[in-house]
Symmetry: C2
Subunit: 364 residues, 2 copies
Amino acid sequence: MKTASEQAALAALAAPETEAAASGVRFKDPRIEMAHGAGGKASRRLIEGLFAPLLLRGRLAAPLADAAHLEVDGARIALTADAFVVRPLRFPGGSIGELAVNGTVNDLAVSAARPLALLVTFVIEEGIASGTLEAEVWAMAEAARRAGVEVVGGDTKVVEHGKADGMYITTAGVGRVDPRVRCAASEVRAGDQVLLSGPIGDHGITILLARGDLELEADLRSDTRSVYPMVERLLAAAPDGVRWMRDPTRGGVATALNELARDSRLGIALCEEEIPVRDAVRGACELLGLDPLHIANEGQFLAVVAPEHAAAALAAVRSAPGGEEAVIIGEVRAEPARSVLAAASYGGTRIVDMLVGDPLPRIC
Amino acid sequence: MKTASEQAALAALAAPETEAAASGVRFKDPRIEMAHGAGGKASRRLIEGLFAPLLLRGRLAAPLADAAHLEVDGARIALTADAFVVRPLRFPGGSIGELAVNGTVNDLAVSAARPLALLVTFVIEEGIASGTLEAEVWAMAEAARRAGVEVVGGDTKVVEHGKADGMYITTAGVGRVDPRVRCAASEVRAGDQVLLSGPIGDHGITILLARGDLELEADLRSDTRSVYPMVERLLAAAPDGVRWMRDPTRGGVATALNELARDSRLGIALCEEEIPVRDAVRGACELLGLDPLHIANEGQFLAVVAPEHAAAALAAVRSAPGGEEAVIIGEVRAEPARSVLAAASYGGTRIVDMLVGDPLPRIC
């Protein structure tokens, strides 16, 4: 419920209703909730209902793509930016700094661009030990070195104690678009194969356990890493055969594939038993009533490949360091359009929906 | 003072001392303070002592430039990113969204690049009214339209109530570098003239008054705007004559010119009475013991121009909308090197230092 003064303030702030209608704004949720940042249905509502009509006017065709492509003096560059607010700052297998580098590198990689340069901005809470910041700067430097990108600039702001939960990091990245590749939901055809680079859910469950809210322990690490070495092998092996790529971070594989189904107007049929999930992830999910397909990953990617290139594509990803467990997890079908279905080994089929709500806030 | 457990944690987090020494890390402040984000001496210590040696390895020559330049397939692009944490979110003459667009546009402009595209990331506090966010998205859309840049992508994260003071916005920008221009501190020569686009201190004092902590009122508005139209005229009139540009935001004109003095190893002699300062700004500064030269601006820029181009440069900036009050405020001299001196009308001369501490936190 809004008070009268809040309503008056809102009326003063927001544009007149007629202008809002003309602009295409249709975001009607009264308040911003955690789910609006979770990468699922509420995020999509915010992006498509508010950001896209006002800010992304020329780019409605692919409002949720991992990176935008731009031409400057004949050069094709990819651009992307992500904010990182993960809690805790450090967790088994990684930290916010490492995540901030790899997350942006991966958004470039799955848009078929070679990651070149990063910009880094910090919002830091007053009073944190300098060693906490220094540890993240080391982590970023090391992740950038491993990923072969250069950090070329950035900015630092400090806010009062309690106002940034340690630190938030935003990284923006620039890449060189591979001219051989045409990757988009609109390129996907019935019969195409869905390739997954490795086990899912490691990152999300690691973060969940690292918070210590649960009486659970598991030998699990975040999968944070650059997926570019795998993407590079894939594109070298089948430049014409790769039709779509995505890194299934917030919202997991289920959300990424639902977005593909919606944007391509096709269906995705998954073979559930082919999807690699570690025992620790499966166990935690069963205990908590979560679907591993909704859990975030930070070092995996999905690719849709033409059927005649599928074997070569799979072999290429498996030949890359870290891609050994890659598998074909399903295929694209004409029907049922705009849906993701998963067939279980015992013969049943279930509808796999996008993430709704935010069961695991602030995982990246 | 650190507790033993904090010290142990720091020792575990930070790299071994020998590694730190080899890396060039020399940032020794024990904790992050507001001043590290204020754009003055402490910011420079953090950037030069920690970020530059670890993250900006190849770019030590110009660690504090407004934008980095990069070549991709023969195209020269400029890249920049800034985080915005201004408090309050809205103030006379602007808001955080407008600032986030103009700030990044201006960093591109003063690096002699035509602003082309922006990426926008939000870190939003759970529970804020959607109208508060919508108002900023409208402000950004309008500022982007006026500045002639396209918003091509971004990201949204939501954190718990109390953890982001409304919202923080980071914008990254890409521009096309003007191939005619060579702008750098190393290009500056004794005898060059220092041009300022208009009155200083409006933004910083507006924010200070908008917080309502002081019993002061004034008819003052933030100067937030794109400076690109003025820069464009300047570069068209004197492409060979412009040797350095900067937008004097955090730390003000004094900090920007001290950085130039340090980086060029030359001195700057200012004629204090030529520097335009509105009465309201001067009055507030006198009352609070602040120097207008330290106050942040969000719609002005400084340019150093070769003496033979100074008249044409000044006329060009004055001919641009909003540049009518541009003036030559001083000149570059060989001595005293690395210093900024200001001559007052009554004959005295004072040393103008960089900003120390943070008298006006979170002004952008």
